[in-house]
């Protein structure tokens, strides 16, 4: 009987309109809900780490971006001493060449011209693990300046003879299993001198190449750090906001379900919800000179801060942007609004952070830039253009 019941039914609309109180409702309505607030959180992210940890990237250079303003990055690097290889010729013979090997992995700025960097000694050992982008370190003496073509895969910077002579004993000092080297050698600072680009490097591909007449070894990167300073551009309109890795690196917004217009939807079931954070492609294009590279995030992390403030919940770790901006839909946004309409909002704040790698790792650093719309200030502004949540509900 049950089987027949299940397979024999052929319900139609017959009967829907019977009576003075017919069956009705159920039509979905789609509304655009702008966030209650939207801001950029300017964080000084962790940019320093030792080998085996993220971030592996470090940056050096200065760029004057018509859209963003001036960004100046200084890279700090210290090295491993290859103790086991420091024997024979490398331990006994005079050093014939010491060069810093740099392998650019990214360019932010003018890609058509070379940049000039200045290489400095670090005057004292420093701890880069967990250091942030606003860290201040003591300045050492300049060793040299060198030119770097951003499009080159590798640049070798030969260090002067005076530097080699001065540091040869330290480089070869394996006393204490390398403790003496760690105490005496503090690494380098790479700072911009001229040019209009910030170059990114990978610590693991950076080394000090040390050679004698018969042998060569590498002092590989052990610890790196990037410090960043930015002077904002006056050209940025008030209704736009920049999210930039390494500086203004989080877009935060809130939804107050107890305030209009959200409170009018209390108790309403949700069919679909989508967060939409549009970007300004027009201003972006107008502000990008020929040959100027301004990297954009490949993906974003979308997190929520729990209402009690105790927890940060990752809602999406790899949100891919579209041409017109960032969209986030699916079960999670629908549940967020359903929770807010039916019970109590689970989150007090939502945070969008650009990921620095294609794999969605947010612990890496970047200088990627995205130009988002701010909340419109004009009362008659169309609600379908700014940042919003497009929510489809079925009123009862």
């Amino acid at each position: 009987m049950l089987f027949l019941t299940a397979c024999d039914d052929n319900p139609t609309g017959v009967g829907v309109d019977v009576g003075d109180d017919p069956l009705q409702g159920g039509e979905p309505v789609t509304v655009n809900l702008p966030p209650t607030s939207l801001n950029v959180e300017r964080r000084a992210p962790v940019t320093g780490a030792v080998a085996g940890n993220l971030p592996e990237r470090f940056f050096a250079g200065r760029v004057n971006d018509p859209l963003v303003g001036t960004t100046e990055a200084q890279g700090f690097l210290n090295l491993f001493q290859p103790i086991e290889e420091l024997s024979g010729s490398l331990y006994n013979d005079p050093l014939t060449d010491v060069s810093l090997r740099l392998a650019p992995i990214s360019v932010y700025g003018d890609t058509t011209s070379t940049v000039t960097m200045a290489l400095y000694d670090m005057p004292a050992p420093w701890d880069g693990a967990g250091a942030r982008s606003d860290t201040t370190l003591a300045e050492g003496e300049q060793i040299l300046t060198f030119e770097l073509d951003p499009t080159d895969e590798e640049t070798l910077v030969p260090l002067p003879r005076t530097w080699i002579n001065e540091n040869e004993p330290v480089l070869r000092d394996t006393t204490g299993g390398g403790e003496a080297f760690l105490d005496a050698f503090a690494g380098f600072r790479i700072a911009p001198s001229s040019g209009n680009a910030v170059i990114g490097f990978n610590r693991n591909d950076t080394a000090l190449r040390v050679a004698t007449s018969t042998d060569t070894t590498n002092f590989n990167g052990r610890v790196s750090l990037t410090t960043i300073e930015r002077t904002p551009s006056d050209a940025l309109p008030d209704d736009r906001v920049l999210v930039q890795g390494g500086f203004a690196n989080a877009l935060t917004f809130t939804y107050d379900f107890d305030a209009p217009p959200l409170d009018t939807l209390r108790g309403t079931p949700v069919n679909r919800a989508e967060f939409v954070l549009p970007v300004d492609t027009t201003l972006w294009a107008d502000s990008t000179p020929d040959g100027f590279a301004r990297p954009t995030p490949d993906s974003y992390s979308f997190t929520g801060t729990s209402t009690d403030g105790d927890q940060t919940v990752t809602l999406s770790s790899n949100l891919t942007p579209f041409d017109e901006g960032l969209r986030f839909t699916g079960d999670t946004p629908a549940r967020i609004f359903e929770e807010g309409f039916l019970r109590e909002s689970a989150f007090s704040e939502f945070v969008i952070t650009p990921n620095a790698t294609e794999g969605g790792t947010s612990n890496e650093i970047s200088l990627d830039v995205a130009l988002f719309h701010r909340l419109p200030t004009a009362p008659d502004a169309p609600d379908a253009e700014g940042p919003r949540a497009t929510v489809t509900v079925t009123p009862y």
């Binding site: 039914d9 139609t12 609309g13 017959v14 019977v18 009576g19 109180d21 789609t30 989508e274 079960d331």
Partner: protein
């Protein structure tokens, strides 16, 4: 006999399979079950149902008729009866073209009865459906406005679920060969839900379910009497007159509106403290038994539902109950007639087919709901059934088919053509009686 035993086992297994789903989603039926407290059921006996109605005058040693407690005095055996129904409803009319076909299978209640004093004082208990709401309509639509590039098609399905059940218990007492009386106490309870489901074919759109539910309960009582006049027109004939009154009851209700499915529902509004006052129901029947082989019966009932009042319609806290207010309720009356022929009469030594009872019944009903408040709705129904004897004395298997039509296609209403079959097993054995011989 072997056939009867096999049939009995098969029916018991079928009924057993239906037990777990009783009171839950058991299928779909008429849109008219959306109004009032749902489609009213007539708990009586398998014999009375096949003869078209409640059979308040039908004395029987083989059945316990729940419609009239006075009939419970006639018991000789301890009885258990349980049954199931299977019904298909084809509806057409209204503003929608085409035909809707819906099918439902339902457990039809269980009865337990036994004599305290043989054919003098009997007791009966029952757990039976009183009403059932089980409509289902589905419409395909396109959203009038959408911010999306394409049109947004969606489907809305309206479902009615639940109904009232009754636990009843009472006694019947026979003063003499002429007259008997009975009374029962009835506890009515149940939940009636109207559900609206909006679903989509596009990805990332989830179905939403809004359910308006009302939980009801009430205490009532049924009083009955029965009169038997023998040797009226011929020797050994019997003219029987029965009457029963179910007293008015106030159904206390709590209305809730929920969002979501089954265990994951969120209650968005609740309104308690209301009540629907059900009217009195009076039943009258006449049965004439010219011989033990033939039974003729005529029955009628009346319930002034137009006088029902509800305090669950005048607030905006939640939805109104009943749907459309009490203006959609109308006086209900029924008229039915039937004939039963059992060739063997009381001769238990005749063959199987001769001991089988053959029944025909017809009924006419003015429904107690009038959805548009102006149109009176009627139902006509014909029934045909057989009652199979078994090798176990006092145990019978009753099969009844029915076909009927209700409603009208005018006034934006719908007309239902329904048909189905019901099965009921009535088991009788001697319990609680001392052996006379050792």
């Amino acid at each position: 006999m072997h056939f009867a035993r096999t049939l009995l086992i098969g029916l018991l297994l079928t009924l057993g399979g239906l037990l777990p789903v009783w009171g839950q989603d058991a299928g779909d039926g008429s849109i008219y079950s959306r109004f009032g407290i749902g489609e009213l059921q007539t708990p009586s006996s398998a014999q009375a149902q096949a003869l078209g109605g409640h059979g308040v005058a039908l004395r029987s040693l083989n059945y316990t008729n729940l419609s009239n407690p006075a009939l419970w005095s006639d018991q000789v055996l301890t009885r258990v009866a349980l049954g199931a129904r299977f019904r298909t409803v084809e509806s057409e009319g209204g503003q929608t073209e085409g035909t809707s076909r819906l099918t439902a299978g339902n457990f039809d209640g269980v009865q337990f009865s036994f004599p305290l004093l043989r054919q003098k004082l009997g007791v009966a208990f029952g757990f039976v459906p009183v009403s059932q709401s089980n409509f289902r309509s589905r419409v395909q639509r396109t959203a009038s406005s959408t911010p999306f590039d394409e049109t947004l098609d969606y489907q809305v399905e309206f479902l009615g679920r639940g109904g009232l059940q009754k636990i009843t218990g009472g006694f019947g007492y026979r003063f003499n060969d002429l007259i008997s009386v009975g009374a029962s106490l009835d506890y009515l309870f149940g939940t009636i839900e109207t559900q609206r489901r909006t679903s989509f074919t596009r990805p990332n759109f989830q179905e939403t379910v809004v359910t308006n539910g009302v939980r009801l309960d009430a205490l009532s009582a049924t009083l009955g009497t029965h009169l038997t006049i023998g040797d009226l027109l011929r020797p050994e004939d019997n003219l029987m007159i029965g009457a029963a009154v179910t007293l008015p009851a106030s159904l206390s209700g709590t209305r809730t509106r929920t969002i979501g499915e089954s265990l994951d529902r969120d209650t968005v509004s609740t309104a308690s403290g209301g009540a629907l006052d059900m009217p009195v129901t009076a039943r009258l029947g006449v049965a004439y038994v010219p011989s033990s082989a033939l039974t003729l019966t005529v029955n009628g009932s009346y319930a002034p539902w137009s006088q029902a009042e509800s305090s669950m319609t005048d607030d905006d806290v939640s939805f109104a109950f009943p749907v459309g207010g009490t203006e959609t309720l109308a006086d209900q009356w029924t008229l039915s007639s039937g004939v039963e022929w059992r060739p063997a009469g009381d001769d238990s030594f005749r063959g199987f087919l001769a001991r089988t009872a053959y029944r025909l019944g017809v009924s006419y009903e003015q429904l107690y709901v009038s959805p548009n408040t102006t149109t009176t709705l009627n139902a006509v129904e014909a029934r045909m059934g057989i009652s199979l004897p078994t090798s176990v004395s006092g145990t019978r298997i009753d099969l009844t088919t029915h076909v009927g039509r209700q409603g009208t296609t005018s006034q934006n209403l719908v007309q239902d053509l329904y048909y189905g079959v019901s099965a009921r097993v009535t088991i009788g054995e001697r319990w609680f009686q001392e052996r006379r011989l050792r």
